[in-house]
């Protein structure tokens, strides 16, 4: 790892850390860092401040870090495995499936609204499984083109379903907008706990896939002649990315932009595209971007919240364009 790459990792880690501190202290009510610390270390008496820190802000901060890291890693894995800079969790159908799952509960079954994260997770995984089923069976199974085209088709199908739901229940569309725009909520630990196992399996799988992914760099033929199995690696990447992206959608709605842009930021800032660097860097940069974005979304118009999705696009695009112009 070069000095430049180490620096990128260190700066990204610092931003994520600073964002975490800001997220825990700032908001509609400011909590001094000393109080946050004593709450975290269990030295604070019960009271509203303790509840704010431990039951509202801590789970939300953890969600933000996890969602950012998960989307960054999912994007990095997919862009590497598909040799395609445009790849993001959208291409394997997860985003479309999760949106359908969430909107289904929000507009059709609002009395069980707490099932939104689970439904988003479930439908995201169902959509991805359908895409893999279509892409891996029959002649030419497992090729990049088959995967991307299957993803587009299934995404279109689920988007049509989402539109149909919103048309059928026009008076409830308002509550669906927040999910589609992407945003975190302060609703305690329930969804975090429900989603954590999927997220952790996805991250472990991603870590295992880092080295095999590098072997795809020179093309499937070279990878195969070196004893790797390109299609199996790609299937593993698809499963990991589906778990990570569906978990993210369950926690924070649609933030697809993060998965697309963060790996590019990592590559352009680090100057290399080896996955031993790009995957961890994408995790740190994604975590930092979402936790900073979420904090700003609570602070800018406090006590009102603006959805973090659009805000993050506003934050991310200038950074992206600056790097794009620098990277030649």
């Amino acid at each position: 790892m070069t000095l430049r790459q180490t620096t990128v990792l260190a700066v990204a880690a610092l931003v994520a850390l600073a964002g975490t501190v800001a997220s825990l202290t700032l908001g509609a009510v400011s909590v001094p860092f000393a109080d946050v610390w004593s709450a975290l270390t269990g030295n604070m008496d019960d009271g509203p401040l303790k509840t704010i820190v431990l039951q509202l802000r801590l789970p939300r901060t953890i969600d933000a870090l996890a969602v950012g890291a998960a989307l960054g890693v999912a994007g990095a894995l997919l862009q590497g495995a598909l040799s395609n800079p445009l790849a993001s969790p959208d291409v394997i159908g997860v985003t479309g499936g999760s949106a359908f799952g969430a909107i289904l509960v929000i507009v059709a079954f609002p009395n069980v609204i707490s099932l939104v994260p689970l439904s988003a997770l479930l439908f995201g995984l169902v959509a991805a499984a359908t895409v893999f089923g279509l892409a891996w069976t029959g002649a030419g199974g497992g090729s990049i083109a088959r995967l991307i085209l299957s993803g587009i088709a299934i995404t279109a199908l689920f988007s049509a379903g989402t539109m149909a739901l919103m048309t059928a229940f026009p008076d409830r569309v308002n509550s669906a907008i927040f999910f589609l725009a992407g945003g975190l909520t302060s609703e305690g630990w329930d969804s975090t706990k429900a989603v954590a196992p999927y997220l952790i399996v996805g991250l472990v799988l991603a870590a295992i896939l880092i080295r095999p992914l590098d072997r795809l760099a020179l093309g499937d033929d070279v990878a195969a002649s070196l004893g790797a199995r390109p299609r199996l690696i790609r299937l593993g990447v698809g499963i990991a990315a589906a778990l990570l992206a569906a978990s993210s959608a369950a926690l924070a709605g649609l933030l697809a932009f993060v998965g697309l842009v963060v790996p590019h930021i990592a590559r352009m800032a680090g100057g290399r595209s080896g996955h031993t660097f790009v995957v961890p860097a994408s995790a740190l940069i994604g975590a930092g971007l979402v936790v900073v974005g979420d904090t700003l979304s609570r602070v800018i118009l406090a006590p009102r919240e603006i959805p973090v999705g659009p805000l993050m696009v506003v934050l991310g695009v200038p950074l992206f364009i600056w790097l794009l112009r620098k990277a030649v």
């Binding site: 040799s83 760099a217 020179l218 093309g219 033929d221 070196l226 004893g227």
Partner: protein
């Protein structure tokens, strides 16, 4: 000249079995018979050129014996072991394969690419050792890519990229190196550089299988040429013995003669505009 990455002996090699022995290889893809009956053998320190018209099945034969393409008939044995019994990494220690169209990714340096060649020798949970690094450096020097070892692949010329691909293959330390049309898009100078490199490897004891359509080049570098036509190996032998007028007329449908002189020059004399009378079944035997 740099020290040579010595091929490691194949783990379960049967004594005296040829490095590669492929007999009656048949390949069917999507119901279409691409390869009907092909034989290919190679021994240490020899260069075998696989020649033939476009679409005759040269690349398919190479991919089939390399284990990258399933076979529907015949047998392929590497040092006596059937290709289907060899797992990916075991196979990767018996043969290296340089594909026709390698991918040139952004953000990857020459050295990083060559390091990939060590993959078959590094276990899933192990890191590259000092020995692995040494082999990578030796392969970089041997393939003549040390002058640009720290540059990105995307900044290299076509000839330089091909030599990097050879360096990746050398890092595998396999006793057989296969290359599918490595000179296809190269200019004269780059082709000659690559030819000298591949011929030089045979002096280091490596067996080289070269799929190539340039007959003058094949005649100059190969100990043995194998002619593939319409899915069959139709002739095998020393270039000067088998690439005669009749075979060229039969297989390529041209009026041409190969000239080889003792000083190593080869030339293909072609009557470009002379159309041979069609012989039913010619080139399809």
């Amino acid at each position: 000249m740099a020290t040579v990455p010595t091929p490691e002996p194949a783990p379960t090699a049967t004594v005296d079995a040829p490095l590669l022995d492929a007999q009656g290889v048949q390949v069917t893809i999507g119901g279409t018979r691409i390869l009907e009956h092909a034989d290919l053998r190679v021994e240490a320190g020899r260069l075998v050129a696989v020649v033939g018209p476009n679409g005759a099945g040269k690349s398919t034969l190479a991919r089939a014996v390399a284990g990258l393409q399933g076979i529907s008939g015949g047998s392929v044995r590497w040092s006596g072991d059937a290709v289907s019994d060899l797992r990916g990494r075991e196979l990767a220690r018996r043969r290296a394969f340089v594909p026709q169209r390698g991918q040139v990714p952004a953000g990857v340096t020459v050295r990083e690419a060559v390091q990939l060649g060590r993959a078959p020798h590094i276990g899933a949970l192990r890191r590259a050792t000092r020995h692995d690094q040494d082999v990578v450096e030796e392969s970089i020097v041997r393939a003549g890519v040390s002058a640009f070892a720290d540059r990105f692949l995307t900044t290299l010329s076509g000839g330089e990229v091909q030599r990097v691909q050879i360096a990746v293959a050398l890092a595998q330390q396999a006793p057989v190196l296969m290359a599918d049309e490595p000179t296809a898009h190269l200019d004269l100078g780059a082709t000659a550089t690559l030819a000298r490199l591949l011929r030089g490897l045979t002096q280091d004891g490596i067996a080289v299988i070269l799929v190539v359509h340039d007959l003058a080049l094949a005649a100059a570098v190969a100990d043995t040429v194998v002619v593939v036509a319409a899915g069959r190996t139709v002739a095998t032998g020393a270039p000067a013995d088998i690439l005669d007028r009749e075979l060229l007329a039969d297989v390529w449908r041209v009026d041409a003669a190969l000239q080889t002189s003792a000083d190593g020059h080869t030339a293909l004399h072609v009557d470009w505009l002379h159309e041979l009378a069609a012989e039913p079944g010619a080139g399809e035997r």
